[in-house]
Amino acid sequence: MHDVIVIGGGPAGASAAIYLQRSKLDVLLIMKDYGTLEKTQHIDNYWAFEDTMDGKELVEQGIAQAKRLGVLVKQEEVLNIENFNDFSVKTNKGEHHAKAVLLATGQTKPNLRVKGFREYTGKGISFCAICDGFIYRNKKIAVIGNRAFMSEELETLQNFTDDITVFTNGLDLEVEVDQPVNTEKITEIKGNDVVEKIVTENGEYKVDAIFIAMGTPSANDFALRIGAFTKNNNILVDDNFMTNVDGLFAAGDCIGGLLQIVKAASDGAHAAIAMNKYVRSLKK
């Protein structure tokens, strides 16, 4: 078991991992890609770089620095986080355990931008199979997604009904499933009080519920399953960067505020200091 698992390898995650490592804690950093910075080619406002910096290069350097200082880094995709006595972090490659977890996964992006999406959220549109799957026992369920996160939700939903269709919303299916698959682009969600239909570019499909598991899970998806407070798509933390779930911390863009490298790095450092205290208090 690790002392801390940091999820996310951007400025918040890497900075936190470095501070934690220097506090002599056992840290594992899990990252799946370069996040928002991968698409940011011109960074001119970060301190001490005379030349324009490329976002991806900065992330690479941050990870190289963390590795040099002894941080264990794994390139995996986190699919779920559970906490009972400790935290169990399930990825596409295995399971890791820690006493505390830092979410530094970047900003949660809006999910499915189609007509009816907001209206029926919570009225048949769900983001959590383990929470709401039971309500739809033996009903007709659609799961929207195309990757491992979708498979994860599918596995849970299979316990409740056999009538499941996977909708990829126009994307290629990247995992194998036994259920029928619809790859058409979704244009609208229709209903009457509650969800009744998915409308695609080619047709209409009757459903009782829609479970959203698009792309990879966001910080909000983790927060929802573990019971952490969020507001306006941001994770809520206290002055110590801890959520309302003991041992679960969050830093960087996923907690909102200024969406800048300098703030994310600062969050990471602050969170690391608080996490160090937290983990050491458990050892007593």
Binding site: K123, S126, C131, I135, G227, K231
Partner: protein
């Protein structure tokens, strides 16, 4: 203290209550439901005598959950004079919940 309500007691405890009732539809397996429980207990203490908190276990009370079209949990209803005044879906902080419920 929140009261646990069943199909049999719903009318008396909720619909015929003299004070507004916050009804929490929840289940044991639902993490956000477990995390909102202490929030509701705090509200119950703070609003003692002014607001009642009732809990409906959707696992045991499928009829009630169905009747009130609960499709995502936690779902929280505010009942006043036997009628639904407000509905909140999902986990949130105490201050946000109080504001959204309008109590």
């Amino acid at each position: 203290m929140p009261v646990h309500v069943t199909t049999d007691t719903f009318k008396e405890e909720v619909l015929e209550s003299d004070v507004p009732v916050i009804v929490d539809f929840w289940a044991q397996w639902c993490r956000p439901c477990l995390m909102i429980a202490p929030v509701l207990e705090e509200i119950a203490n703070e609003y003692d005598g002014k607001v009642k908190i009732a809990k409906v276990n959707v696992d045991e009370e499928g009829y009630l959950a169905n009747q009130y079209r609960v499709s995502s949990i936690p779902t929280i209803y505010l009942f006043e004079d036997g009628e639904v005044k407000n509905q909140i879906i999902g986990l949130m902080r105490k201050e946000d919940l109080i504001k959204k419920l309008g109590i």
